[in-house]
């Protein structure tokens, strides 16, 4: 149904040219990811595709019709957008907001009919927002509101859905849920998707094709394995990155290579065993105190990893949503053995990451200080079978030189 053709598009704001000659096309059933560094023109492209800004040169066409000749309602029936964030000042209910997605189909003086309400209900069901449809959007969390906006975009019944870093506000679980749902709709309901991603791994995992932008120009456009190569990433982002294949499903993921920039204070080595956003400001505090910090094992896309990357902390990584493999177990163990101090944060323990505790048990010896961040709640955060996490934890805590603290802040103070 929809066929989007972008031909030699040039556009920008007032006198600043942002997009410089971009051409590509999207066919029915495509799932295109748009990636690129900050300021490369990703969001501008999304805005040009909905005529928020007009082309200075070149054209945007839907089904061979120039966007400049389409009415706003006509565009809104073909394309819907989920922006990065939405701010609503007045207490509309969730249902009201989702139903607004029908407005391109409803006349000025008409009310939504049964069919419109049914479509909105389906969208709320798909985005898991139906159970709070009566609540005011002002009372929702950022993630909930984002799903409501997604439901509104689906209620528009578009041929093409545009996502502008739409999942960046969601936690990792909802991120995956939303992307899985879109993938399903893309495959089974022929919904074409274009999604702008800041996170390369999300793009790699879900997009059939990727468009890599650099300074308003198309750097490369193709299948993930053609686009996500070390040389392309070095050329555009200026970083060295390793591209791996996911052990389970063969999709690609990218992790930045250890940059070997270490604190010059030559402080003690601290290794942090963590995950699931359990570090708080721990990594930053330790780096600032001059320790040589490492961490592991962290899944790609874990927010603890984002912090670690940001701080140039050496990290053992694992593919997204994957269990700890033998290889990363060994990497973790090595760092633990090298460390003078090991900190174990209060991350939830599951079958996937129990190897983190095993590495601590094996690696921490007599001359290593062990700090356990634990609010005495290991039972609550143990999701393994037969309480293996609890047992392992109590074995670890019997080690010599073990200290228990309540919080990551206390851990830093106790050093």
């Amino acid at each position: 149904m929809v066929e989007l053709e972008v031909d030699s598009l040039v556009t920008g704001y007032s006198d600043e040219k942002i997009l410089k000659d971009i051409s590509f096309h999207v066919e029915k059933g495509d799932f295109l990811g748009i990636i690129g560094p900050n300021g490369s023109g990703k969001s501008t492209l999304i805005r040009a595709l909905t005529r928020i800004i007009s082309p200075w040169d070149g054209s945007v066409k839907y089904d061979k019709k120039n966007i400049e000749k389409m009415s706003r309602n006509e565009i809104a029936r073909k394309v819907s957008v989920v922006p990065q964030d939405t701010f609503i000042n007045f207490p509309f209910t969730v249902r009201d907001v989702v139903l607004m997605g029908r407005s391109p189909y409803i006349g000025r003086f008409k009310n939504p009919d049964k069919e419109d309400i049914k479509i909105a209900k389906e969208a709320m069901q798909a985005t898991k927002t139906l159970r709070f449809e009566d609540r005011s959007v002002r009372d929702l969390s950022g993630g909930e509101l984002q799903r409501v906006v997604l439901a509104r975009a689906l209620t528009q019944k578009p041929d093409l859905l545009l996502l502008d870093e739409a999942t960046s506000q969601l936690d990792i679980g909802h991120k995956k849920e939303v992307m899985d749902m879109l993938k399903e709709m893309n495959e089974n309901k022929n919904l074409s998707v274009i999604s702008v991603h800041h996170n390369l791994n999300l793009a790699a995992r879900y997009c059939k094709k990727i468009l890599l932008l650099d300074d308003g120009k198309k750097h490369v456009h193709g299948r993930p394995e053609e686009v996500l190569t070390n040389s392309h990433l070095r050329a555009v982002y200026g970083v060295e990155a390793e591209v791996h294949e996911h052990p389970k499903d063969g999709s690609l993921y990218v992790s930045p290579v250890d940059k070997k920039i270490r604190s010059e204070k030559g402080g003690k080595k601290i290794h942090v065993v963590c995950g699931g956003n359990s570090t708080g400001t721990l990594l930053k505090d330790l780096v600032e105190k001059g320790y040589e910090v490492s961490a592991g094992v962290l899944n790609v896309m874990d927010s603890d990893l984002e912090k670690a990357d940001f701080l140039d902390v050496e990290v053992v990584t694992e593919a997204p949503f994957s269990s700890i493999t033998r290889e990363s177990y060994k990497g973790n163990l090595q760092l633990i053995k090298k460390a003078d101090i090991v900190v174990v944060t209060d991350f939830p323990v599951g079958e996937g990451n129990i190897k983190n505790l095993e590495a601590v048990k094996e690696g921490v010896d007599h001359d290593t200080d062990l700090i356990l961040v634990d609010k005495d709640n290991i039972k609550e955060r143990d999701f393994t079978e037969q309480n293996r996490g609890v047992k392992l934890y109590s074995e670890i805590s019997r080690k010599k030189n073990t200290k228990r603290v309540d919080s990551t802040e206390e851990a830093v103070r106790s050093l």
């Binding site: 909905t50 565009i75 809104a76 409803i106 009310n111």
Partner: protein, 346 residues
């Protein structure tokens, strides 16, 4: 209260009918109050006898009671209904376009402009009947100036527009104060300017009521016709466009309509504060932010509130109604605010 609001939200039409009935009763009651008290039954009979169609079947009235009710009180009360509902709907539209619950009909300089026009008129001593024309011209002129200042590269930029409105409000108020300062010291003179700035319905005759009626009808219809677009505006201008709204056109039509409504009403009654800012709030608290319900509710709230305040103003010896609206409205509004704190979102 909570379940009451649920019921109202489920049956908005019944609630509107109830408000309409309340307004009718208030109109009749208000006509009984004043320097001469006229019994309710008699007021009813007088008004019915003058009503087209029904009137020819009823006995006609003569004398002072008839003159007071038909020629003095009724035009004033109906002007109150027109001004109250126009200011309230103007405020609803402004708050919708600006996506801000603190916007009012006077935010773009209508009141300050109108005030200056009136002050100039009074200063040079124009006739009483020309005063509305002076005020209207100045009010609308100010708004057009603000629009011109707020236009950036062919688009109406909300932030620039608000700042331009603020600047013009200060400028016009400053000029008005200057005229007050240099004008002769007679008390009568200053009282007229002050009365305009507080707003009053005192002295309104049919010739004031008639010209405002078509403006109100057209204005309310134009705002109501865009209720869907005003809802979509609350998603942000960019999202509104992506949901099919012609944003620039809507913005221009709404800002012009609401300014025209406010400028017309200010010209005939002076600056009656509070109604345009607070009635949309009160309505939103009860029927929610959806404009198809919000606009008619605001209109009826505005009409009821202003007629009520004007009745009190007459009972208290003709203090300007603008003083009553603020004195009565603010405590009521604070009560609503405290009662609903945190749950309404603004």
């Amino acid at each position: 209260m909570e379940s009451m609001r649920e019921i109202i939200r489920k049956k908005p039409k019944s609630f509107l009918s109830f408000l309409f009935l309340l307004l009718l009763i208030l109109i009749f009651y208000s006509a009984t109050v004043g320097t001469v008290d006229i019994p309710f039954k008699r007021v009813l009979a007088i008004i019915l006898s003058e009503t087209p169609l029904i009137g020819s079947w009823l006995p006609a009235f003569e004398g002072s009671d008839r003159t007071i009710v038909i020629n003095l009180r009724l035009p004033r009360i109906l002007l109150g209904v027109i001004v109250g509902s126009s200011l309230a709907v103007s405020g609803t539209s402004m708050q919708g376009v600006f996506k801000n619950p603190l916007a009012s009909p006077f935010i773009l300089g209508v009141s300050a402009g109108g005030g200056l026009g009136a002050a100039v008129g009074i200063y040079i001593g124009i006739s009483y009947y020309l005063l509305p024309l002076f005020a209207f011209t100045a009010a609308l002129g100010t708004v057009i100036l603000v629009f011109a200042l707020g236009r950036v590269k062919g688009k109406t930029d909300i932030a620039t527009l608000l700042l331009a409105g603020l600047a013009m409000n200060f400028l016009m108020a400053g000029l008005t104060n200057y005229i007050r300062y240099i004008s002769p010291p007679e008390k009568e003179f200053h009282l007229r300017i002050l009365t305009f700035m507080f707003g009053t319905l005192n002295g309104s005759l049919w010739k004031h009521t008639y010209p405002t009626l078509p403006i109100m009808v057209i204005g309310l219809a134009l705002v109501f016709a865009y209720s869907k677009d005003l809802n979509l505006f609350q998603m942000g201008e960019e999202s509104a466009k992506q949901l099919g709204v012609e944003v620039e056109r809507t913005k221009m039509i709404q800002l012009f309509t609401s300014s025209l409504l406010a400028a017309t009403m200010v010209a005939f009654t002076g600056v009656i504060g509070f109604v345009g800012l607070m009635m949309p709030h009160a309505a939103r608290l009860i029927v929610g932010p959806e404009h198809k319900k919000l606009i008619p509710t605001s209109a009826l709230f505005g009409g009821i509130f202003l007629v009520f305040c004007d009745t009190i103003s007459r009972m208290m010896g003709e203090i300007p109604v603008g003083i009553v609206t603020v004195l009565l409205g603010s405590p009521f509004f604070i009560y609503l605010l405290v009662r609903n704190r945190g749950e309404t979102g603004w």
